[in-house]
């Protein structure tokens, strides 16, 4: 399906990353936003609160992030595409109902404009240290989908992609951006609506009485509409295909296996990598979000010196592109992870490299983007 023209501000704009994300959500057909003010994400809520009434969307500023996450799940089950945005401290609070969203298999989008942590940390400065929280932050076993935009333009595009994936896989999708992208103002091209491809919610074609919230033996079941005769039950308890609680090990295995399988069996579809000069590379710099831009001068300098350096930008961070990293580990001398933390996604890369090549982390505690010089030094260390 194509985007609704009333939702799309087609044209060339000069927007910061947060506004671009808000426009992406609106273009994707998001009609419900619940949030709580938190730096550096608040501009998303502000933009939405101004734009939504014009297009019949609903904006509610909730009493906290616990409520915001709960409300977007409720709205999603009520039939609206929904989203929220936050940063570290709020992300921690949202983890509770993020888990409910995973368990109920609820489409929605959650944006984390990352700042420095732990705790209140650096409200106004960037970080990428919530990446493992994104992966494991709620209790229990489950898989997640997380995307990382490197610019306002990607903020717009990946927000739409996040909505599409959330509908396709019927689960919450995370957009893991950061303060730098959020507050960076750049040119953003918003295409005409007919060029924006949207995945709309899949509802059951079965009759009431025959349809359940999770169809037996279906990996991703179509949803059931509220108020149209289905009278279904959903619960955060371990449940069977009918949505009713079943408290035993067999039901647990079936329920959790499905939550994991829908991502694990579709890793190829979900993986989105942008590679440059990787074919002949002896060293590959892997990064995501803003860090994948900061590494570029360092890579260019090293290549000028004849060092064969390639680059991989992970647009999808979770699920981790395990297959590609394993492949590369057998070919290259070293893999370098550049991220604004002390090595979170690095752990995954190192695990997948499995000792078949050297791995390096070029990281720091956050508060600023990398000095390209530090990336250059790590490249030099790697080829020694």
């Amino acid at each position: 399906m194509k985007a609704d023209p009333q939702n799309v501000l087609t044209g060339a704009h000069y927007l910061d990353g947060n506004y671009a994300i808000a426009e992406g959500a609106i273009a994707a057909g998001c009609k419900f936003f619940a949030g709580y003010p938190i730096t550096p994400s608040t501009e998303i809520a502000e933009r939405v609160s101004r734009r939504f009434p014009l297009i019949g969307g609903i904006f509610v500023q909730m009493e906290d992030e616990l409520a915001s996450m709960a409300a977007i799940l409720g709205a999603s089950w009520g039939g609206k595409k929904s989203m929220s945005c936050t940063s570290g401290p709020g992300f921690s609070l949202m983890m509770e109902n993020f888990g409910l969203g995973i368990m109920l298999e609820t489409p929605c989008v959650l944006v984390n404009v990352q700042r420095g942590g732990p705790s209140t940390g650096l409200p106004t400065l960037p970080g990428q240290a919530d990446m493992m929280q994104a992966r494991w932050g709620s209790h229990g076993d489950y898989e997640v989908i997380a995307l990382a935009p490197d610019s306002p333009q990607e903020g717009f595009e990946l927000t739409i992609h996040a909505f599409n994936l959330s509908e396709k896989y019927r689960m919450p999708v995370l957009l893991m951006t950061d303060e730098c992208v959020g507050h960076m103002t750049e040119k953003v091209i918003i295409p005409p609506p007919e060029e924006i491809e949207l995945i709309e919610r899949r509802y059951t074609d079965k009759k009431p009485g025959e349809a359940w919230p999770y169809q037996e033996n279906e990996l991703i079941s179509p949803m059931l509409p509220v108020g149209e005769g289905y009278k279904f039950h959903i619960t955060g308890l371990t449940h069977d295909y009918r949505g009713y609680p079943v408290i035993n090990a067999e039901a647990q295995a079936e329920n959790v296996d499905r939550l994991m399988a829908k991502v694990k069996e579709n890793v190829d579809d979900l993986t989105w990598l942008e590679e440059k000069d990787v074919e002949d590379a002896e060293v590959v710099v892997v990064s995501y979000g803003i860090s994948s831009r900061v590494v570029q001068p360092a890579i260019a300098k090293a290549r000028e010196e004849g060092i064969k350096v390639g680059q991989i930008k992970m647009v999808t961070v979770w699920p981790f592109p395990e297959k590609r990293i394993r492949e590369l580990a057998g070919k290259v001398k070293a893999l370098i992870m550049v991220e604004m933390n002390y090595g979170q996604v690095y752990l995954e890369m190192d695990r997948c490299a499995a000792g078949r090549c050297e791995t390096y982390i070029c990281g720091h505690a956050g508060g600023t983007v990398h000095d390209p010089g530090s990336v250059y030094s790590t490249i030099k260390d790697a080829v020694k």
Partner: protein, 271 residues
């Protein structure tokens, strides 16, 4: 005789509630209320949190969403906004609504969003085995107040009234017909409406507080729940230990989803 079976999911019985629990009486009162109001089962959505009370959602054959501890009202806010025509009923308990969910409770009341909240007040955390709750009376024993509760309790209805709810009532499971009427009025009310239902727990509360028999608890409700009108005529002395029941607040105020709709409409005109 009233046919309850058409309103329940028979396959999910027997229910998890202990013998002597009052929660089934609330379920039946709710069923009679929606039957009386002629609400099509498909037009009603029940959202519940966590605890004994919240398990009601699994038994009633309407759209039912069983969510996380304390968050039912926040979840329901999304459901109501997405579908303002639906009757959204939140089922919750004293701990769920006023401890872990207390913030959501007062803010939903402040916004006056059109939800009907049934709070089963049993003075205790029943499902986890009887821990002290925000409504456990002073001096009462619980598994985590083994020497008697030293904290003063919340007044659930008073909390909603002070926060801005447009309809607040208190009922109890002994006076079941009256309870049905209160639930009926609450559902009819356009705005945030609360029915606090005293539904004591013989297993986790009664046994620790010399009221182990469900009959004793029922008699206690019979003798201590006093209708508002009668209560008002009583002296301070007579009021001691008595609980005021009936409609406590019933006022008209702007409803939140309605106000938002007006905002959207005004923007379209200005366009």
């Amino acid at each position: 005789m009233f046919d309850y079976l058409t309103y329940v999911r028979e396959g999910n019985f027997p229910h998890i509630w202990c013998s002597g629990c009052g929660h089934g009486i609330v379920l039946k009162s709710f069923i009679r209320a929606i039957d009386k109001l002629g609400i099509h089962r498909d037009e009603a959505v029940m959202v519940s949190g966590i605890g004994c009370s919240s398990r009601t959602a699994g038994y009633v054959d309407i759209n039912t969403l069983h969510t996380t501890h304390g968050r039912a009202i926040a979840f329901a806010t999304g459901v109501k906004f997405a579908n303002p025509k639906l009757h959204v009923i939140v089922v919750t308990g004293d701990g769920d609504a006023t401890a872990i969910g207390g913030n959501h409770y007062i803010h939903a009341a402040r916004r006056n969003i059109d939800l009907t909240v049934l709070i089963y007040n049993n003075y205790i955390y029943g499902m986890t085995g009887g821990q002290v709750s925000p409504t456990t009376p002073r001096g009462a024993r619980a598994s985590t107040s083994p020497f008697g509760n030293i904290e003063p309790p919340f007044n659930i209805s008073g909390l909603a009234s002070a926060a801005g709810a447009s309809f607040v009532a208190r009922g109890d499971v002994y006076h079941a017909q009256k309870l049905e009427k209160l639930i009926t009025q609450a559902i009819q009310k356009k705005g945030f409406s609360v029915v606090e239902v005293l539904s004591p727990c013989p297993t986790a509360y009664g046994r620790r507080n010399r009221m182990a028999s469900p009959v004793t608890l029922m008699e206690w409700l019979r003798d201590n729940c006093i209708p508002v009108k009668k209560y008002e005529k009583m002296s301070e002395e007579e009021r001691s230990g008595k609980i005021r029941t009936g409609v406590l607040i019933d006022i008209e105020k702007p409803e939140f989803t309605e106000e938002y709709r007006k905002l959207v409409d005004s923007m379209q005109v200005r366009g």
